[in-house]
């Protein structure tokens, strides 16, 4: 990094933001890593940190960065698992969580316009006072922001009913590489057939096209009742087919997460540890399907009864009797009423950390992929946590899958082995007509290697990047470059 340019840029940032711009190493350290697996001493220090509060301030920051050719890395919750906020090319980290205001709650049209740094948790706390909620909810929602969800195109617990962020997003204001704040998307209509769908380009762009500062979102009435249940299935395939069947009958299911045998073992062990009782899970159980139902009580009751009869009678599944186990799962997915690092087994990230390949597949390939997962994880000496199939599209089974591991981050080699595992799993996804990433994003993992998936369209992606970001300042080292996974 050009020290002189940094110095000049910092002086200008200081003039614009005062003490909300800093070069102090102590502050820079706070933006030096996210949740992605890397060696425990790994660090990516940005050169400058700024904390804007308005779109106008972000415009000034971008202009300054552009003028001095300094990278910009937007930083939100820092819970990404793909290194999307890793400032490995240095530059200016933008702390976006200060952009946290609700600009308009339009209850007549069920829309809310927010500054993009508001966390999903804060937004929902406010909406709840009006009897509303915003259903795009990743597990990281306590600190994950609306902007981060747009940037990463992350997953949602309620994907089966409400889809991903794009399904509930009408428009964004994004500051482009020209230092211009532009609204992309439609105003408050739910669709448009006019023009190009530039909003789609921005979702999942990981800050490589600009900095999203505002968003207009669809909100919904808070459901009166919610019931959560678990069913053990005889195979993964059974779980998927049962869900397909339930939806085909016209049932409305809010969320459905299908877990493999290893994951089931994780839940039964946690139950055993906590309640000192053996759960009554049959030996034949190869999968556990968690479902949630929400709405008016009578409809929810009917839906649950119908879903249960389909699962039990047509797929010989069994309902989990230990509701505490189901509630424990729900706490980890939605209510977040748990204390991180309290659980003892297997190591609760005290020795190792979670890591995942997040591939997406056609639903008919899940069982096959699961078998390959076991082989690939073993090949790279990885400790398996298990597989979860998330449904992330409204009213149809889809396979957004977490193939999760406990990653040993004590040596560079063991971390490298994890990324070898991700590379091989990603290649498998493409081979199976799927996608390398279904909720984490390319981050600093898949750039370049992702050409394998996108083929000839990859060059168009490059041109899109150049159009939005002619100086190449937005989050460099992502999408088109990786430091973990080399090209095929």
């Amino acid at each position: 990094m050009d020290e002189q340019a940094l110095g000049l840029a910092f002086d200008e940032l200081r003039e614009t933001l005062g003490e909300r711009a800093t070069r102090d190493p102590t502050h820079r350290l706070g933006y030096s890593r996210d949740w992605s697996p890397r060696h425990r001493s790994h660090v990516d220090l940005p050169d400058i940190v700024v904390a804007p509060k308005t779109t106008a301030e972000v415009v000034e920051i971008v202009k300054i960065a552009h003028r001095h050719h300094i990278p910009i890395v937007p930083f939100a919750g820092g819970t990404g698992m793909g290194g999307g906020v890793a400032a490995w090319k240095g530059g200016i980290a933008i702390e976006t969580k200060g952009l946290n205001q609700i600009l308009e709650l339009d209850e007549a049209n069920m829309m809310v316009t927010v500054q993009a740094g508001i966390t999903i948790w804060e937004l929902n706390e406010t909406l709840a006072r009006s009897g509303l909620w915003f259903p795009h909810q990743p597990e990281s929602k306590r600190v994950c922001t609306i902007g981060a969800s747009i940037g990463c195109d992350n997953d949602s617990t309620f994907g089966l009913r409400y889809g991903k962020i794009l399904d509930v997003l009408s428009n964004v204001v994004m500051v482009t590489g020209e230092g211009e704040a532009v609204r992309f998307g439609r105003r408050k209509a739910s669709f448009t057939s006019s023009g190009y769908k530039l909003l789609d380009l921005i979702v999942g762009s990981e800050g490589t096209l600009g900095v999203v500062t505002e968003a207009t979102l669809r909100v919904f009435p808070l459901p009166e009742t919610r019931l959560v249940r678990g069913f053990v299935c005889r195979s993964l395939e059974d779980g998927i087919r049962a869900l397909e069947h339930m939806l085909a009958t016209g049932l409305g299911i809010e969320s459905a997460h299908l877990n493999c045998r290893q994951r089931l073992h994780f839940y039964t062990h946690a139950y055993r540890e906590k309640y000192q009782r053996e759960p009554e899970i049959p030996d034949w159980a190869e999968a556990i399907l968690f479902l949630s139902f929400a709405g008016d009580r009578d409809v929810v009751d009917f839906t649950l009864d119908k879903a249960t009869s389909i699962l039990l009678e047509q797929f010989s599944a069994e309902e989990v009797r230990e509701q505490e186990m189901v509630d424990g799962w729900w706490a980890s997915k939605h209510s977040l009423e748990f204390i991180p690092f309290k659980q003892k087994w297997p190591d609760s990230q005290r020795q190792k950390k979670f890591g995942a390949a997040d591939i997406g597949l056609p639903i008919g390939r899940v069982e096959e992929a699961y078998q390959r997962f076991l082989e690939i994880a073993a090949k790279w000496d990885q400790d398996i946590l298990g597989m979860t199939v998330y449904n992330e599209s409204p009213n149809k089974p889809t396979a957004s899958i977490s193939f999760a591991l406990f990653v040993d981050d004590s040596t560079e080699q063991s971390v490298a082995n994890f990324y070898n595992y991700v590379r091989e799993m990603s290649a498998m996804a493409v081979e199976m007509e799927g996608t390398m990433s279904s909720y984490i994003g390319d981050g600093d993992r898949l750039g370049g290697f992702n050409e394998l998936e996108h083929g000839a369209s990859y060059s168009y992606m490059r041109r899109v990047k150049e159009m939005f970001d002619p100086a190449g300042v937005f989050n460099p080292g992502k999408k088109f470059e990786s430091r973990w996974i080399t090209k095929p």
Binding site: G30, R33, W35, E95, G98, T119, P340, R350
Partner: protein, 359 residues
Amino acid sequence: MDNKALEQYAEEIYTCNRSRCGFCVTDCPVYRVKGFEAYTSRGKMMIARGLLEGLVEPSTEMQGILEGCLLCGYCQARCALTNLEIFTLLRQRLAEQGLSAPEHEEKVAKIVEEGFLFDRPSPIRRDGTVPLYLGCLYQSKPVESRTIISVLERCGLDPLIVDETCCGYFAEATGFGTQFKRIQERFREAYGAQADEEILTLCPTCTVTLREKYGLNVKHAIVAVAERMDQLSPRQLELKATYHDPCHLGRMLGIFEEPRAILRALGVELVEMEHNRFFSTCCGGGGGVADTDPGLALEVAKNRVRDALQVGVENMVTVCPTCEPTLLRGASRLANEADVFVDVRGLWDLLDEALPPTE
């Protein structure tokens, strides 16, 4: 100076660093004001790792960040790691290198030399049967102390007040571990035989310190009052109010329901703020922040008062000699800035108002 003490916590520090779950971030009262990650729990855990690995050196900027921590324990409530111990250790690590606030140094020196945090300690002494430890703050507020003693008497308690010295919390919290040891020795000498009995306390912070750092059998006096409420006939107060849980009394001692039960017994219509009980947020008076960054303490206090306004209440009640004046300052400033006023009342004052005089 080395990292030895910090190294004992390496596993905890790396556990936080490798996960970054962020449960501690957005509701951290200091982060809400300052807006940089370094002020959050996970930010300070990153600083700890930075020191362990030599990525950063102690500096005045780092000192400012660490001294900006209220030690309120909100992050601790959201996490199974020993955050507060580590933050206290970080302060100690810097203080040992001369990176400490002169305001803190002066106060700690005063405690070491004189045994009290404030000037003019109270001359109150009283013969009685139940030891009552006033603590520095109530020592400096004889009028309030007499009111509390009167309330306790009306509850049928007979407080014994003898010579006492500071518990030393302030010294430990601000990073002066060596001085804290000397203060502890002095306390033990001064408090004598009473230390072997159950001691009633008034200050939540002293209560935590005497219990955890001295191993004494202490009970906050408000608990003793709550135990006797059904034998009393308080006047019913016409008041709609919210109750602010002091961090030390609530989160750290688990005393949530007793003050609420008393308020209900006094006829108070209670409305809960969104952050209450275990997840209550700080008034701004914790961790010695008011000495080094009064502006920060004031903004935190204003945010807590806003929490009351958010649920449509204009009266806050609390039971802590730090929270009450701190919140009152926040309420006053907010009244000037936004033309809304929230009154802050002490629970002891309400009891004084409601309990009939002894015959």
